[in-house]
């Protein structure tokens, strides 16, 4: 073989010989901010970044989950506006990529799905992508107006959720709402409730599901998304006398069907209002007070589709010193929520921090994505 032959290609312009699939392999590893900038390089790249669903999916799968934190930076009670700051901490750096949004007061808790943040308030529902700073305001709905009777404890008659339908590769926002109230001859109440959905990029208006939900969801407690379904806590106070909640209300996005998921053993006999749900490490998690109310347990389940889902008690925090006073329920709920968030932090960054010491309203697991660019 002739070793003196010079290489055929000019070495300095090697990149030109990278086949398109390898250029794609490189681009899919770029952060969202850089990709937004690179849309201006050429039209081919712009189309790949903005309009290629496969590229978007591959990019999302390569992102490492991180944290999104928010805090109310300013409250203007007169105009009823709270400015919320969103923060995404980067590796060993101070906060970067902050974004501020004015929100009407009475905001529900946020939910995240594939880089999209659902930020519902009583009147306006928004979906935000903090990585692209794209804000989508959903159309109005008559069901956002509170019914004539008022809820004593909660400020709202609705509860939301956001999820991904794998079959159609779309993202759907749902609104569970309470309508009118029927007074029965026995002096009992019957609540009327329904569910409406809005698929981003597809729907122009909200539309109600063909089948009504079988159980009332606990208002204000944004749904947990897990493997194609949304899960709500059932509000036992709104059930008929003597009836207890059989589990968690589940809504499958694929076929818009309802079902009930049996709860972990801890929830039996105890009020669901003290439990809190989240998705951790690919499993559905429920944090709930222990049987004697002196501890908090976190139960996890990785497969809710089988006949009898198996819940494993994975963590126990306690003993906690609690007094049996009327604020116990709220305290337990806050505590469950707080502990689940701590687990989320542990899960992602493997560190132990005490949230209470920081000036944040809430922290969730978050994965930056290109989502919403085309809609």
């Amino acid at each position: 073989m002739d070793n003196d032959q010079p290489p055929q290609r000019e070495r300095s312009k090697m990149a030109a010989y990278l086949p398109p699939e390898l250029v794609r392999e490189i681009m899919v590893r770029l952060p969202v901010k850089t990709l937004l900038r690179f849309r201006g390089i050429c039209k081919g790249w712009r189309d790949m970044i903005s309009d290629d669903a496969e590229f978007r999916g591959a990019h999302l799968r390569l992102q490492k989950p991180c944290l999104l934190a928010w805090s109310s930076t300013k409250e203007d009670r007169r105009n009823k506006v709270t400015t919320v700051g969103l923060y995404v901490p980067e590796e060993s750096a101070a906060i970067t990529d902050t974004m501020e949004l004015p929100l009407e007061c009475e905001s529900h808790s946020f939910a995240h799905c594939d880089g999209l943040l659902l930020m519902p308030t009583e009147t306006v529902v928004r979906v935000v992508n903090p990585a692209t700073r794209h804000v989508l305001t959903l159309p109005e709905s008559s069901n956002s107006v509170a019914p004539k009777f008022c809820f004593d404890v909660f400020y709202t008659h609705q509860v939301f959720g956001i999820g991904h339908d794998p079959r159609s590769d779309t993202y759907t926002v749902v609104r569970f709402f309470f309508g009118s109230l029927d007074l029965l001859p026995t002096d009992a109440h019957r609540y009327n409730f329904g569910l409406e959905v809005f698929t981003i990029g597809v729907d122009r208006h909200w539309h109600e599901t063909a089948v009504k939900p079988p159980y009332p969801a606990d208002v204000g407690r944004t749904a947990t998304f897990f493997k194609g379904s949304l899960f709500w806590i059932i509000d036992e106070e709104k059930l008929d006398e003597g009836e207890s909640a059989p589990g968690f209300l589940r809504f499958r996005l694929e076929d818009e069907s309802f079902s009930v998921t049996p709860p972990p053993p801890c929830c039996r006999g105890l009020k669901y209002t003290t439990s809190h749900m989240a998705e951790l490490r690919g499993e559905l998690c429920v944090a709930h007070a222990g049987p004697k109310y002196d501890s908090i347990e976190i139960w996890m389940c990785n497969d809710v589709d089988i006949n009898l889902p198996r819940w494993n008690r994975c963590y126990t925090f306690g003993p906690l010193f609690l007094s049996k006073d009327p604020t116990l329920i709220t305290y337990m709920y806050d505590r469950c929520q707080y502990l689940l968030v701590q687990q989320v932090l542990k899960d992602i960054v493997g560190i132990d921090i005490d949230l209470m010491h920081h000036d944040l309203d809430f922290v969730i697991r978050y994965t930056p994505s290109l989502g919403l660019l085309s809609s």
Binding site: L22, G40, I95, R133, V349, I351, D359
Partner: protein
Amino acid sequence: MDSTADPKGKRPLYQEDGLAYARAAAAAASATAAAAPDEEEAKPKPKPSSSSEEAKPEPEAEDQAEMPPLVLVAEDGVEVSISRRAARMSHMLRLLMEDSCADGPIPAPNVHSDILDLVVQYCEKHGPYYDPEASERARNPFPPFPVELTPTVSSIKPVTYVDPDPHGLKDWDKDFISLDNSTLFEVILAANYLNIEDLLDLGTTTVADMMRGKKPEEIREIFEIENDYTPEQEAELRKENAWAFED
């Protein structure tokens, strides 16, 4: 991944030319090849010592150490040898070994010997710890880093620190991959041809990191891309995502 099934049933889905060529070469040399029994290659792969729970013996590693290394032939005709254990990192070579077609010289027609040396160097370093079942990203689920949430808040130090890199491979990779652009791209092409997932990941991630700080004109130069925007269109796009251009 186990080859207890009939190896002839396996057909690669890519790089057919290379494999077909290698198989033909192996068939021609089969008479003189030191044919190792198939059972030795069919044993379960040794797991990295840090994660193994069961005390699995490592018969494959021992046997493979005794078996002669593979011989790769670069485009300039230079032969580069690679141990069987290191060769496992290449999906292509792994298939060849399973099909017992790896005994003769294996052509790498688009790869220069300098690049092949680098690639072999990488595989030899990572080979002993390689677990084909686990991917690079799955191996490091928790990046431990101190998080400063706001400038006014004290930084949070990790309380429990789990070392995800017990063999110091991360630092070695960092030194290894600091190459000039053209060499880096050649390594990526070679890793793609030989289907070495981890090296491809390392190379493409490095290029991506290098690209992050560059201006559009620099990117166009590196990838030889023609700007098909009008100046007005480009300015419009820039305005749309103005915040993305700040740093």
